[in-house]
């Protein structure tokens, strides 16, 4: 059965190998240049505040060289790989057999359908995981200098956006989280099995591809938005607005509304933490976006303490809900486990359907 699976899977496997090779060539062509630029940037062995400037310069240089595009393409490839695999490997696996009637040939050989499906799912699932994780590991190797530069604060605090916002993304940002660590393994296994399951239910390849893609897309959007933040109870903290290391601040004084929007980018004392929500509360503890009129006078805005200092002196605090950086692997593990559990559930359903309810 392994040999038959390989015979039927050969074309897809070669396509995947070609895609991996193309990806490797793209990264190998740009990676050494990035690494040598990093070595020459002065960041290694830098001291104190100079590091941040050097890192920012380095990232700006990368952007000028077009490496931001490579970064974007590589991240997109890792994100899309499970979906593509689910469509082109998963969906036809059973649907194509049913559609062309070859199931009558495949399932009347001297081998049970359970074994047939077990081998196909195992080989396809492991290959899907290997391809996606392969892309992820290659990209992680390639992007290592960027990660170090971002770690030194390069790009992160620059408000003009000149370094390219994609380099600001922390490990918890949706794009980075989903393309690194072990989560690509879970996505790949799940997307493949989802494709197989939808194919078995619908019985026709092209509609199965469309439905599988839609379902996978919805799940991949829903999980980071509504599920991932709540995998572990968030920590709460509150700080006077002046002690926030970096904030995004919009002040609007139109119509004398004195409204402002203050969002914490970093959690003080928690480098790399994942900020879930950040709310400004007044001295009474009520969420507000309205500043005291005194704080928006030109004299205050131009003073050393500035607007934030004025808010702080009026008892305004920032209440932050966050996940500490130390939980990164716990999050990776939990999310991967969820996807693998879903994968097993779908696989179990496929076995049952193939053995009992096939129509």
């Amino acid at each position: 059965m392994i040999r038959l699976t390989w015979l039927q899977f050969r074309a897809q496997a070669l396509t995947a190998a070609a895609a991996l090779a193309a990806f490797a060539v793209l990264l190998a062509a740009t990676g050494p240049h990035m690494a040598s630029l990093y070595a020459a940037s002065g960041i290694p062995g830098c001291q104190g505040a100079s590091c941040e400037n050097l890192a920012t310069t380095y990232l700006q240089d990368l952007k000028a060289d077009g490496d931001a595009w490579v970064y974007l393409i590589s991240v997109a490839s890792i994100l899309l790989a499970p979906a593509v695999i689910g469509l082109f490997w998963g969906a036809p696996l059973i649907a194509h057999e049913l559609e062309t009637g070859t199931s009558a040939l495949a399932w009347t050989q001297s081998i049970t359908r359970t074994r047939w499906l077990a081998v196909k799912l195992t080989v396809g699932g492991l290959a899907a995981m290997a391809v996606t994780e392969g892309l992820s590991l290659m990209q992680a190797w390639w992007a290592a200098p960027i990660g170090r530069a971002v770690g030194y604060g390069g790009g992160g605090v620059v408000a003009d956006g000149g370094t390219g916002s994609i380099f600001k993304m922390g490990r918890f940002s949706p794009l980075v989280f989903a393309t690194h660590g072990i989560t690509p393994l879970g996505y790949a296994a799940f997307a493949f099995t989802l494709g197989v399951t939808v194919g078995a239910v619908i019985g026709r390849t092209v509609p199965a591809m469309a439905v599988a893609l839609a379902v996978f897309a919805v799940i991949q959007i829903a999980v980071p938005l509504w599920i991932r933040p709540h995998l572990f109870p968030a920590r709460q903290t509150a700080f006077p607005v002046t002690s926030l290391e970096s904030t995004s601040l919009t002040i609007s004084t139109d119509n004398s509304s004195n409204s402002f929007v203050l969002g914490a980018l970093n959690v003080p004392g928690q480098p790399g933490a994942w900020t879930l929500s950040s709310t400004t509360v007044n001295a009474a503890g009520q969420a507000t976006s309205k500043a005291p009129a005194i704080c928006v006078t030109p004299s205050v805005l131009n003073s050393d303490a500035g607007f934030a200092g004025c808010l702080a002196s009026h008892g305004f605090r920032e209440e932050i809900s966050y996940q500490p950086a130390s939980r990164y692997w716990a999050f990776q593990g939990a999310e991967t486990a969820i996807y693998l559990a879903l994968t097993l559930a779908l696989a179990g359903y496929c076995f049952r359907r193939l053995n009992r309810r096939l129509s």
Partner: protein
């Protein structure tokens, strides 16, 4: 005699419609059995149930004494050629034979090579580019080289031209003669069945209308024609299968275990085709069987 396929109360429902309902039959081993019936009688559903590709909604079916597809050993005992003889279009002929060799412990490599050689198939040719006849032959070769005890064929002849049909049946009969394989062949081409089948089952709306060895069936049915007469006045041993009357004349197709002596009748034997058509006609009310003809339904 042991049974190739035995079903009781067998039913398969698709959403609202029943493809097969309350079907009871027993097909004996050691025969080439023709399974005949109009479209929608449930022949394909029955064969798909018998190969375990479908699970029954109701009732039971056993094939060679075991539930279908229950184990690799049971699967190895049953060969199947599906309707339209599907093959993997993008795989080569040789790959199909390798597939068969990999998945079937009893694979007869010599038989597979000999048959494809005789048929003049290029092993490197992709199955998708074979003619309908060759594709059917490839599917038959795969089923035969598995060396099953029972071979089930679902309308394998439907899409073949007369020459390909003859070649296909010749290949089938050679294998049956060589290995003593039991065969169940569904078809609505009675003339083809006549050539190969020695056992016949007529299935109409999931029900067995008649079942028996072809020779015995032909021997026990007669066409009687003579002056117009009420069929109710016939001797009790004569069952009227079909009747037609004009003003003066009656023509009856009767089943009887005994010779007909009434001199008023002109007695002619019936052909298998006439017999099948008479039993397939839903207008004919088939009386309960009195003489036992092979395995009863």
């Amino acid at each position: 005699m042991s049974t190739a396929i035995e079903a009781s109360g067998l039913g398969k429902q698709y959403r609202r419609t029943w493809a097969l309902r309350d079907c009871a039959l027993a097909i004996p081993e050691g025969h080439v059995t023709g399974l005949v019936g109009p479209n929608g009688a449930g022949k394909t559903t029955l064969l798909r149930l018998a190969t375990g590709q479908l699970a029954p909604t109701r009732g039971t079916i056993s094939v060679l004494g075991e539930p279908p597809a229950v184990s690799p050993a049971q699967l190895a005992r049953v060969g199947f050629v599906a309707q339209d003889t599907p093959v993997y279009a993008r795989m080569r002929v040789a790959d199909h034979l390798r597939l068969g060799a990999w998945l079937n412990p009893g694979w007869d490599e010599e038989l597979a090579r000999r048959r494809t050689g005789q048929l003049g198939m290029d092993p490197r040719q992709r199955a998708g580019s074979l003619s309908g006849g060759q594709r059917a032959q490839l599917a038959l070769t795969m089923a035969l080289a598995k060396r099953p005890e029972l071979l089930l064929l679902d309308e394998p002849l439907a899409s073949l031209d007369p020459l390909a049909r003859r070649e296909f049946l010749r290949g089938l009969m050679e294998a049956v003669a060589e290995h003593g394989t039991s065969v169940v062949l569904s078809s609505h081409l009675v003339s083809d069945l006549e050539r190969v089948c020695d056992y016949l089952i007529v299935l109409v709306a999931s029900q067995v209308r008649v079942a028996g060895e072809v020779g015995a069936l032909l021997a026990s049915h007669r066409r009687l024609s003579g002056p117009r007469r009420d069929p109710g006045t016939l001797p009790a041993v004569q069952d009227v299968i079909e009747e037609s009357h004009t003003d003066k004349q009656s023509t009856l197709l009767v089943r009887t275990g005994e010779p007909v002596h009434d001199p008023a009748w002109t007695i002619t034997p019936v052909s298998l085709e006439e017999l099948v058509l008479a039993y397939m006609n839903p207008a004919n009310d088939i009386p309960a069987r009195r003489p036992r003809l092979g395995v009863a339904s």
